[in-house]
Amino acid sequence: MSRNTEYRDLFPGALEMMILQSLRLRPMHGYALVKHIKAGSDDLLRVEEGSLYPALQRMLREGWLESEMGVSAKGRPTRIYRLTPAGIERLERELSSFQQMFAGISRVLAFNLA
């Protein structure tokens, strides 16, 4: 089994970027995050739900997120993830480099089609 299951069908860092972007809107718990990403992508992206958690732990370790006690939609105790200033900074950097890359790829594709 590959160690990088969480990136299946996605390029490296994509899941991370989506989590950061989602949490920028508001702090969420794990399941809400999955639902948010799925809904946001209109189910176009296939994300294995569990793969979220190793990514979350990594981002906690990097200090981009922090977690706190919270209550789920069903009223049960869970953990809410919140973006830190360092996380916001990271997101900005990732977004700009992603946009550059995306623009580059688009141009090449357009050039070849023409």
Binding site: M1, H29, G30, Y31, V34, G50, Y53, P54, Q57
Partner: protein
């Protein structure tokens, strides 16, 4: 200390994580159930979409861990748990490894201390022993080591050399110390200036003996060894400046050498300066051990060239007296033959130790194969567990790593036990103290030995672990197969691995056994050599020396020596007494010179050199040396100074064709001397060693007219030989000592031992090799047979059902037994063929250790395989008998 905080907050992180995952699943299930699914369906769907919950949780936790280290720790915990669960298996493995590793550690420690470690002198790589090679000196060629230096050579070399920082000569002697308590005979090493400078070990107390101390007209000085200082002076530092009586002369103590210091390989009590008078030296007298310290960057070849140059100076500067030609020695074709001091000290023991190391290494290999075999057996019984784990997603590497961890733990525990075994073995070795093992006092476990054990343990774990892992990581396919395997006979493929191991074991055991048997046959050949003396165990010997300072007159000395023998003969139980200057095999530097046979013409007037021995009447009868022709000396021959000689049989044959023909013929030593008549011919004696050819010997009366000057000469250092059934007993030794003191109270006796001890010591190298190889061979045989037993035993268990069917169909029990024995013999056969090849290679390597037996001795090479096959048949017969005892009904009902 971020990582520490991380470590402590980890528990909370893990709790957070499981809470999140739990709530994730709960919420999802709730939603799915709201969508109309049953609880069961909802749970399944939720888990499917989530993925492998355990794996994800683990991955998430790993973010906070050092995954490699922690999974290694988990493996370690697992290994200990598994060891605890199968104590029998673990104990077998650990014991096998402990013995194997222990034996290897012990042998390595010996090899390390004796051969690998530098000598205990500063800058010891520049230390050399100075020998000369003299191919032109007929008769001297039997001195295998070469020619030693003469005093005049030392004086020349010390003055004229360009290659040495320092140079010196030394010899060993025994001296009488009187005036302390009772008279005592102690080991002295006589040294010139340059010896201590060369060895460069500082004194513990006082100062070195230097060139100033060797002035023959100066004050007599000496140094003590640490041991003698402790023993006689209680380690009193004020001993420097005190005087003691050595050979009835007063010498002042100037210093003490530190503990463990030896001159090259010589232990001593006293260091005494050699006081050569340059005005009295002649060319000859080649009896001194030369040592030197090379200047930095000077090679041994360069030093040899330097010596060749100095030999010419030497011949120009000295002579052997008036009317002699100093350049006579050119016919000897002398050249320098320097060798490193380490080589000198270690001698031929290195080859023995490497052979022993190799064989004991092979035993280790066999032990590893046995352990691998045990692991394979267990792999088969763990087939089901492994299949389940593989099905649950355990990677091959994960399982292999866990197994290797377990092997490492087993090997390290075995290694630790092995160190204890090695330490005990080394203590035993030191207690036995094999006489010819140099540097015995330096042998011990050091950091390098422990390191070796550690590496050996890990390497062996890796070795047998990988063999087993190969099997483990390919569990035989499916769960269904695994659970059903028990009832089926094993396929050929499954047994092949274990069979290969058995073949390898048999091959190695055979090779070792062949070597051991070759050594046994060598020992037998040595024992059957007629040494030239009889019944050595009943011959008590000791040495006495009468210094000129005690009794100057040669005739009085001879009478004193005679009366000591007479007094000894009155001791109860003594059958006969005699004495001589040297005994067979005693290693005392022999006297020798040219012997001219009457009527024989020599090329360049250069007759061959012969060994001299000086004996009392009755010597041959006492020693058990047969007189082949003629008669023994009488006391009238001695006191009448009659011109007579007794020669050895080989000298008689060489000179006159036969022993009988020699009697009545004449010979002499120096040209200026009257002819001497041969009155007797004695049986050949293996003077230099049982495995060395018997030298030609001339036996002179112990008092005679000197061949070099018109003077009577009496030998002053003698070995007494007492034949008695009481030889070796303390009471006889005490009574002999008293008898000597009744004659002269100032004479200590030394080197008390039986000729039997001397005889056994001369074979010490062979018996040491023999003992080691026999132990190794026996271990290899036992392990090999255990391997065969295990394989056949396991095969019987595996094939119980098949055996039942065969029996039910009418197979004969004897036929069934034979079937298993036959398969064992087939394995043995293949092993034997491979082993014979290995044995041939090995025995050619150890050729130098063999005597009287060919390295490819047909008896050994035919006999050992037969014996091995018989043992293998027996080892397989035991489990095969179990097969025949199988009850077909039980066997078939078993499932």
């Amino acid at each position: 200390m971020n990582w520490m905080k991380q470590l402590f907050s980890r528990r909370k992180r893990y709790d957070d994580l499981s809470a999140s995952i739990e709530e994730h699943l709960a919420e999802k299930i709730d939603e799915l159930m709201d969508g109309g699914m049953s609880r069961r369906e909802a749970e399944q769907a939720a888990r499917r979409e989530f993925g492998n919950e355990l794996l994800i949780a683990q991955r998430s936790r790993e973010v906070w861990q050092w995954p490699r280290l922690e999974s290694a720790l988990a493996d370690l915990r697992m290994a200990f748990r598994r060891m605890g669960k199968s104590p029998g298996f673990s104990a077998t493995v650990i014991l096998t490894l402990a013995i194997g590793i222990g034996a290897n550690t012990a042998v390595f420690s010996v090899l390390n201390s004796v051969v690998l470690k530098p000598l205990p002198y500063p800058g010891s790589d520049r230390l050399v022993s100075i020998w000369l090679h003299a191919p032109g000196a007929a008769g001297l060629t039997s001195f295998q080591e070469g020619l030693r230096l003469s005093p005049s050579m030392y004086l020349t070399f010390a003055e004229h050399n360009r290659s040495f920082e320092s140079i010196g000569v030394w010899i060993s002697d025994a001296v009488n110390v009187t005036g302390l308590a009772q008279p005592e005979r102690v080991h002295a090493t006589l040294i010139t200036g340059g010896v201590l400078e060369t060895l460069a070990v500082q004194p513990a107390v006082g100062r070195w003996l230097t060139a100033a101390d060797q002035d023959p007209r100066g004050r007599r000085t000496l140094m003590l060894s640490y041991g003698y200082w402790q023993r006689r002076f209680g380690g009193d530092p004020s001993v420097v400046g005190r005087s003691i009586q050595v050979d009835a002369e007063t010498g002042e103590i100037v210093g003490v050498m530190p503990r463990g210091f030896q001159v090259v390989n010589q232990d001593f009590d006293l260091l005494i300066p050699l006081r050569f008078d340059p005005h009295k030296q002649i060319l000859a007298g080649f009896g001194y051990n030369g040592i030197g310290r090379l200047k930095p960057g000077v090679t041994m070849e360069a030093a040899n060239t330097d010596i060749a140059r100095m030999l010419n100076i030497w011949m120009d500067s000295w002579s052997n007296g008036p009317h002699t030609n100093p350049h006579f020695y050119e016919t000897w074709k002398m050249v320098g033959a320097i060798r490193s001091m380490k080589q000198e000290v270690i001698g031929n023991v290195a080859s023995v130790l490497w052979v022993v190391m190799g064989t004991i290494g092979v035993v280790m290999l066999i032990a590893c194969l046995n352990v691998a075999n045990l692991l394979l057996v267990r792999a088969e019984s763990r087939q089901q567990e492994l299949a389940i784990r593989a099905a649950l997603g355990a990677g091959a590497m994960r399982i292999a790593r866990e197994l290797l961890t377990e092997c490492m733990v087993l090997a390290l525990v075995g290694g630790a036990a092995g160190v204890a075994i090695a330490a005990a073995g080394l203590r035993l070795l030191a207690a036995i103290g094999p006489a010819n093992l140099p540097r015995l006092g330096e042998i011990g476990l050091d950091a390098r030995s422990i390191g070796f054990t550690f590496v050996l343990s890990l390497a062996s774990a890796l070795f047998f672990g990988s063999i087993a892992a190969f099997k483990y990581v390919r569990p035989s396919a499916s769960l269904a197969h695994a659970s059903g395997a028990r009832s089926m006979s094993a396929g050929r493929a499954r047994l092949r691995g274990r069979n290969l191991l058995v073949v390898a074991q048999v091959a190695m055991a055979l090779a070792l056994l062949v070597c051991a048997v070759l050594m046994i046959r060598t020992m037998g050949a040595l024992r059957s050599v007629e040494p030239g003396f009889a019944d050595a165990g009943r011959l008590q010997t000791f040495r006495i020396s009468i210094p000129e300072t005690l009794i100057a007159d040669p005739v009085s000395t001879a009478r004193l020596e005679n009366s000591i023998a007479d007094r000894l003969a009155t001791v109860p139980g003594v059958e006969s007494v005699a004495f001589s200057t040297s005994l067979p095999l005693d290693g005392i530097e022999p006297d020798w010179d040219e012997i001219r046979i009457e009527g024989k013409v020599y090329q360049k007037n250069d007759p061959p050199l012969r060994f001299f021995d000086f004996v009392s009447p009755g010597y041959f009868r006492t020693a058990g040396t047969r007189l082949v022709a003629g008669r023994d000396y009488t006391w009238t021959d001695v006191y009448g100074l009659r011109p007579v000689a007794i020669i050895s049989e080989n000298l008689a044959r060489e000179s006159w064709g036969s022993a009988a023909a020699a009697v009545g013929k004449r010979l002499k030593v120096s040209n200026d001397q009257p002819w001497l008549e041969v009155v007797g011919v004695a049986q050949d004696v293996r003077q230099n060693g049982v495995d060395e050819p018997a030298p030609a010997i001339v036996y002179w009366p112990y008092m005679n007219n000197s061949p070099y000057a018109s003077a009577i000469e009496t030998q002053r250092a003698l070995s007494y030989l007492v034949r008695s059934p009481r030889a070796g007993s303390q009471s006889l030794v005490a009574e002999m000592q008293r008898a000597v003191w009744q004659v002269n109270a100032d004479l200590p006796v030394a080197s008390i031992e039986t000729l039997g001890d001397v005889y056994n010591r001369s074979m010490a190298r062979t018996s040491f090799t023999l003992a080691m190889l026999t132990i190794a061979g026996a271990m290899a045989l036992a392990l090999g047979l255990l391997g065969i037993y295990g394989v056949i035993s396991y095969a019987v268990t595996q094939r119980t059902r098949e055996i039942g069917i065969r029996l039910a169909l009418g197979a004969q029990k004897s036929e069934l037994k034979w079937m298993f024995v036959r398969s064992a013999l087939r394995l043995t056969g293949v092993g034997v063929v491979i082993g014979l090849g290995a044995a041939a290679a090995l025995s050619l390597v150890m050729r130098s250790l063999l005597y009287g037996v060919s390295p490819l001795d047909p008896v050994t090479f035919a006999g050992v395989p037969v014996v091995l096959a018989a043992c293998a048949a027996f080892a397989s017969y035991l489990p095969a008998r179990r097969a025949a005892a199988v009850d077909p009904v039980d066997a078939l009902r078993a499932d």
